[in-house]
């Protein structure tokens, strides 16, 4: 099983995890891997906490990642990195968007948002990178391509060629939005 790469995506329903997951799975297929991915639909969206899981390798059985076994955790919202931290392997890498989306449980006084979420990321993950992907997406043209920025960032840590990514982006994104998303992907790739 060692040859299987496990990726966990986390964020808030509506942030574009489905597209991010599609881009990674299609790229894996293009590179000749067996791939399985799991997505959350329905009730779990609507602004709720959402997880996506992708596994690729020679032969993949389970579409779900085992706790403590993800090589990469890509979090689209800062505390959603913490929530899914148990999935990450002790040697895994957390890529964390510093964007904050305040849950209604905080706004209605039922819970508190951490005062220093960046500090919490530093405490929680032995290996991490943080970036403000929302700001980078704005630079690319629209906050809605935050997910593509993050896939660009993730691409630095996956063994797929630039040509495969290019092809997958062209294949999966509507022609109207392609140039903006290519820019977003390229900006994401520059994050280190």
């Amino acid at each position: 099983m060692k040859q299987i790469t496990n990726i966990v995506l986390s964020g808030v329903g509506g942030q574009g995890i489905l597209l991010a997951s599609k881009l990674v799975s299609e790229a894996a297929l293009l590179e000749g891997y067996d791939v399985k991915a799991n997505e959350v639909h329905g009730m779990a969206q609507r602004g709720g906490s959402v997880i996506g899981q992708i596994r690729f390798g020679k032969k993949v059985f389970s579409p779900l990642v085992k706790l403590g076994s993800a090589h990469i955790l890509l979090a689209m919202e800062i505390i959603e990195s913490i929530r899914y931290a148990p999935y990450l392997s002790p040697t895994g890498l957390a890529l964390v968007n510093t964007q904050r989306v305040i849950p209604t449980t905080v706004s209605s006084g039922q819970a508190e948002y951490p005062a220093d979420p960046e500090g919490l990321v530093k405490q929680t993950f032995p290996r991490f990178q943080m970036a403000d992907c929302l700001a980078i997406a704005k630079e690319a043209g629209d906050t809605r391509c935050t997910n593509t920025v993050m896939v660009g960032w993730l691409s630095n840590h996956l063994p797929f060629s630039a040509e495969s990514w290019q092809k997958v982006l062209e294949q999966c994104i509507k022609p109207k939005f392609i140039s903006m998303n290519l820019k977003a992907f390229a900006l994401g790739r520059k994050i280190s």
Partner: protein, 588 residues
């Protein structure tokens, strides 16, 4: 063959199309919805959303008797609605092949209960196939049509959330066209009046025996020989987890677990020393294997509640091997972060309705749909949910109990057409006195915005008659029917109060399309003047993710608008008693 990445639901659609399906019907329900949404993209297939699952199954049965290859899809609880036709369809049988895809939701990701559809197969004596991933979803639906036509029976394909909503690599092929060859007049075969029905009952058992023989011989019910110390009997998604957790074990992998392939199970049991049945939810297989006199184990170690996963099975393996000491958990728990349950989207037309209802504190009998989210604080405006349609009929029952409490019922538009009309007929007929809200957002929103009889458009994109909720209500005998814009809070408030005070039944139809499909109401984000905001928190009672409570200092807070999320619906503007929330460009 070309290889593509498909979700289980996309693979079901692809497989049905390749198998020459002519006619397909469904009612949307997570996790089954995307099957028809994908099938409709292919040529030469008639696809429709039916008002409910019973209609979908009956419709597909009629087409199958006319010789068409047909498909009906639903979620597990949908089969409860469609159980009536299924139980007799296995008696009268079919002519063209018929596949019935039923998607279970172990773990209740998006459902009100956990149900194991395999029990229905036994009750109806219908064969059941259980694909474990996208590749098998595509393959098994073709197999379902073969079995269906060979044995003249509908075939159930059981999916689960993790099969339907996981993606995998699938080799795709060409379509093998099928032509419906017409209805054959043969009442002895198709009309189960007792004199014919009793013969059908006997024939059903004979067919069942033959299906059992088929199940023992089919190559997809497969033995994989490895170690003879341990044999795993499994089917569906459970196989995928078991394959990783017990890589050394021998496997009996069942593509068609029902009818139980007894001879194959007995043969397998003789090759291994110990048998573990790995199945999700109930002990359906295990119980049967034990009834054959085989000392199989299963639910003693593997939970019957919730879904399986690699983690759950790894834990089960430790117990199975007697390693219960498990000193300390290998995985470090995460620091606590605030929960983030799903909520009404910013700009949702339902929000204002529940905000106003919650202020009057009636008992709210709800229903299945996005509006179930009103249960969570701070709205806390949902007191009971049972099933599709119960938002009307159970509300009526609660009112008739006559306890002096104010009762209101709430259903959505798609739910109203699904099974709300009969409940409303009951209120009209039996003189109920309560308010029923129909939240008409012109969409089956929770499942991803499907058309329904009230939207004026079919699944295949054709404009059509738009069924009127108001006309239905009046036809049911409801005299007070009020239509109101749910974004106009003062008007909404007056309507709700007037109707709740009335001495007869009333239907309030709140009319505004789901904000996610109709963007015509989306406006510039609001802004909050920090000097005018008195931190009263009243706007936060709307439970809008676009309004964020930010600590300033010493436990004090201000509310800010998240401009990425705000859709400019202006509910908060109407709620703020200080005029602190403004439209863009509006002066402080």
């Amino acid at each position: 063959m070309e290889k593509v990445v498909l979700s289980g639901n996309e693979a079901f659609a692809r497989g049905a199309w390749e198998a020459g399906v002519n006619i397909a019907a469904a009612y949307p329900g997570t996790p089954s919805t995307e099957i028809l949404e994908n099938l409709v993209k292919y040529p030469d297939v008639y696809c429709q959303w039916s008002p409910n699952e019973k209609v979908a199954l009956e419709f597909a049965a009629g087409a199958a008797l006319a010789g068409a290859r047909t498909l009906a899809c639903m979620k597990h609880v949908g089969l409860n609605v469609a159980a009536d036709p299924l139980m007799t369809l296995t008696y009268i049988g079919i002519k063209g092949g018929m596949a019935l895809i039923v998607a279970d939701d172990p773990g209740m990701h998006s459902s009100q209960n956990e149900q194991d559809t395999r029990h229905y197969a036994r009750l109806a004596r219908a064969p059941l196939l259980e694909p474990s991933d996208s590749e098998e979803a595509k393959e098994y639906i073709g197999l379902a049509y073969e079995i269906s036509e060979q044995f003249r029976t509908p075939v159930i394909l059981k999916s689960t959330t993790r099969v339907s909503h996981s993606k995998g690599v699938v080799a795709i092929g060409e379509r093998k066209p099928h032509k419906a060859d017409g209805y054959e007049k043969n009442p002895q075969l198709y009309v189960p009046v007792p004199i014919y029905g009793r013969k059908m009952r006997v024939a059903l058992e004979e067919r069942f025996q033959k299906l059992q023989e088929y199940a023992c011989a089919m190559p997809q019910n497969m033995i994989v020989e490895r170690s003879n110390d341990l044999g795993i009997i499994t089917s569906g998604i459970a196989y995928q987890y078991a394959a990783e957790i017990f890589p050394e074990a021998s496997f009996l992998k069942l593509a068609m677990p029902f009818p139980f392939p007894d001879d194959l199970i007995i043969k397998f049991s003789k090759t291994v020393k110990r048998i573990l049945v790995v199945e999700e939810l109930d002990n359906f297989l295990e119980e049967h294997v034990r009834s054959l006199g085989i000392a199989a184990e299963g639910k003693k170690y593997i939970p019957g509640i919730g879904e399986l996963s690699l983690d759950v099975l790894e834990e089960a393996r430790k117990k199975f091997e007697g390693k219960t000491d498990t000193a300390k958990p290998a995985v470090k728990p995460a620091p606590k972060v605030p929960p983030r349950p799903p909520v009404f989207c910013p700009g949702c037309p339902h929000r204002g309705v529940f905000y106003e209802i919650s202020k009057l504190k009636p008992v709210v009998i709800g229903d299945i749909g996005c509006y179930s989210l009103a249960v969570f604080p701070p709205l806390s405006a949902m007191d009971m949910i049972l099933c599709m349609g119960a938002g009307i009929s159970s509300a009526h029952g609660a009112q008739k109990a006559d306890t002096g409490q104010k009762i209101v019922g709430v259903v959505g538009d798609s739910t109203f057409f699904h099974s709300g009309i009969t409940g409303l007929l009951d209120i009209g007929y039996n003189k109920g006195k309560l308010v029923i809200f129909v939240l008409d957002n012109r969409s089956t929103a929770m499942t991803g915005h499907q058309e329904h009889p009230g939207t004026g458009r079919t699944l295949m994109g054709q404009p059509t008659h738009r069924a009127s909720i108001e006309a239905f209500a009046r036809a049911c005998g409801i005299n007070r029917v009020v239509r109101v814009d749910p974004y106009d809070l003062p008007k909404l408030r007056k309507v709700i109060k007037d109707e709740m005070d009335a001495d007869e039944a009333s239907v309030i139809i709140t009319e505004a399309p789901c904000i996610l499909i109709d963007h015509s109401r989306v406006k510039e984000p609001m802004r909050i003047d920090p000097d005018e905001c008195k931190s009263c928190g009243l706007c936060l009672k709307l439970s809008c993710p676009g309004l964020e409570k930010k600590e300033v200092s010493g436990g004090k807070f201000k509310v800010e608008v998240n401009p990425v999320l705000c859709r400019g619906c202006e509910l908060c503007v109407q709620v703020c008693p200080f005029g602190a929330i403004k439209k863009q460009g509006e002066k402080s």
